[in-house]
Amino acid sequence: MLSRIGWIAFVAGVAMIVYWTAIAAIPGTIMQLALGRLEQNAGINTMGHAPLSTADRRIIVRPSPDLAYSTCLFDLSDGPVEISVDPIDAPYWSLSVYDEQTNAVFVRNDREAGERPVRIVLMRAGQTAPDGLETVRVSSNRGLALVRTLVPERDAFEAIDADRRSARCTLLQ
């Protein structure tokens, strides 16, 4: 039979295992839930262009109603994925890439792009990309590329929406 101290140690051990398991699982679990919802916006390795967020329609948590979100839920299992964004005629736009642990592994905005297209290749360690392309190493197969485009007034959405649709997400074969 366990002594009282033994039972306390047993409970403490279980509590520690639960704590560390929960802490380790939270980022990936939250991201998986988010990616599942984003898959409704576009399929895997495809750029989808969501309409402006409303009270009834959102694709990310706590969306900005001033931003038009374009999303690519990428999967690098079958090879690197290329993301390209041509300059968008809007006061601000940016491309950010999140890994499966919710970390932002790449961010570039319109000023940094300097009126040039942003063209990057997302890849895992051990994968290769054509020479001359900017590469971004991602630590997980799945993740999210997100283009945020500022829509200063809702009336401006139609023109900005047409312009942002040049953004692409493509599996490199």
């Binding site: 991201m31 001033d66 006061p91 500022l150």
Partner: protein
């Protein structure tokens, strides 16, 4: 049989304590990440990769898909400048000098983190960083004002895109209750 029940009880107790400590740890960690400037609360850890699992979990809970602080800084407020909870039945003015940023916007959210439903999609106000911050909220918003819901609490998020070095040292907008 008695031993099995004791083991089961110990397991359940251990799981409950573990989950409770997880919740307390994340809550304490969130507070540690946050900075308060008047009614506004911000964090510069959103969207960043941290070394420890605990830091990752905190960032995931609070800042999923958020831009890192070099790209945008987010300020949240659940009270006015006098510390009173924001009430959707009241009218508020959010006013302050220009921010050290390319663009700012103020958005109202319900307690469920959703935009507040209204027929005119009056969710936010924004402007160039060179412009003074000025927005008004109310349950019956006028032109250009942000809609809230009478009888429901709400929160405000101030976003500053392209933040400059002096943003956190500068003056943030006051949130003034005009009437209820």
């Amino acid at each position: 049989m008695r031993l099995a029940l004791r083991i089961l009880f110990a397991l359940v107790l251990g799981i409950a304590i573990g989950l409770g400590v997880t919740w307390l740890s994340l809550r304490a960690g969130i507070s540690a990440f946050e900075e308060r400037i008047g009614p506004w609360i911000t964090s510069q850890e959103f969207g960043s990769a941290e070394a420890s699992d605990r830091s990752r979990a905190i960032v995931a809970v609070r800042g999923l898909m958020a831009l890192p602080a070099s790209e945008a800084i987010y300020f949240n407020a659940a009270t006015d400048s006098e510390g009173r909870a924001l009430d959707g039945g009241c009218r508020y003015r959010i006013a302050g000098p220009p921010l050290a940023a390319r663009w700012w916007s103020v958005t109202a959210y319900g307690a469920d983190a959703h935009l507040i439903s209204n027929p005119d999609h009056a969710y936010s106000a924004g402007g160039d960083g060179a412009e003074a911050v000025l927005a008004q909220t109310g349950p019956e918003p006028g032109l250009g004002e942000i809609a809230t819901r009478d009888g429901a609490p709400f929160e405000l998020t101030l976003r500053a895109y392209g933040p400059g070095d002096g943003l956190l040292d500068g003056t943030l907008p006051e949130i003034e209750r005009l009437s209820c």
